[in-house]
Amino acid sequence: MTSTAVPTPPTGNSFRVPPPSPRLPGAPFLVFDWLFALAVVGVIGAIVRIIFFTPIEATQGAAQKIYYVHVPAALSAYLALIVCAVMSMIYLWLREVRADRMAESAGEVALLFTTAVLITGPLWGKPIWGTWWTWDARLTLTLFLWFVTAAYLVLRGAVDDPIMRARYSAVLAVLAALLIPFIHLSVYLFRTLHPMPIVLKPSEPSLPREMLITFSVSSIAFLFFCAMLMRSRYRLALLRERAGIV
């Protein structure tokens, strides 16, 4: 190491530590964060609307209100998983370190939301289906999404070299994206009990207006929350790299 005043950053295909950027505040709490504020206010607002301003469903009673958390959490999980898979493909293609960081962030957020889906699902299933768990196609698929996402994060933790870690996890994410249709197809052929989508389907949503508004508000709030978490995790990855913890 020479004692030059300004060390030149190594360039090329290696994982270089990016120079400090003004867009990444050193003290994040001193700066007002619009996305963070929007996500938190949105989620709190959605919960208030779900509890106090949404009619109780006629046949399922209050238990149906978990729908407004369950489905938006699932949508957020899908968003994070898609970001993870697409960023992994971009990484394998361009070897761009930012894509790897983004895939890592999305992977962790995906595990969080998939866990939320798997917790809210049985809570809803018990009073309505009479069982906590059933080997239905969608439940099985979600469970395996959770397993693959967990394996993805364990794999990342088990490789020391940052370049090999990025490549291995990108390969796994891309293969997992190919796996999902096969699991879906085989478990669908096995059996299915899960209700079909009532909002995100080709025909018009068959949900009453008030419920549809609550659902939409909640979904948008959750997606913002998901995006906010991914961005925060991305910044954490950047700070860790800068601090030399890779």
Partner: protein
Amino acid sequence: MLARAPGLTAAAWIVAKKDLAIELRTKSAFLSVIVFTLLGLVIFFFAWDSTAVSALDLAPGVLWVTFTFAGLLGLHRSFGAEMQDRAIDGLLVAPIDRESIYLGKAIANAIFVSAVLVIAVPAVALFYNLPLGRAVLALGSVAVLAAIGLVAIGTLFSAMAVNTRMAELLLPMLSLPFFVPIVLTSAQASTQLLAGRPFAEALPWLKILVAFDIVFVVACTVAFPHTLEE
């Protein structure tokens, strides 16, 4: 797939022959995997009340679960052996395509797990009192398709897992979610065939299995070079 370029196929055969020669001379992995498979088949028999569940219903599931776990043991050895004295470096500097290393390893592994099945299928017929002729026909045809998918995935993940801090744990963790469509479709198809149902009833499962094999043999071959150091 294999006949894409003669250089690729020829090199793959050389790699496969090398791996099989090592296995033939040591026989260590084969014997332990065979014993593991037989133990698995026996232990599973006692896990169920044989008066409540008929052996015919039980056998295919037991075979595929045991086979999957036994396959993992064999697959771990595939790249594990290359790590000794960094033998992998010899393969990497060889003037062959990276894809042919993967294909060669996969061919050797496919022959390895097929040899395990040659013993496991009659064994499951013996222990579970299945009609041998029908069992060999039903399980054998599905076995070939299952082995291809298992080996395609397992060989790639073996190459990745050996370079991690917890290879023994990580290989099953990565592979098993990918084996789900294989185990599910194989077990369903072979249950139908064993029960003497018409072939058409097993066909949807076999179609998924064939599609799985094609997609993952291609995808893993393309992905493999990314898992190697440059």
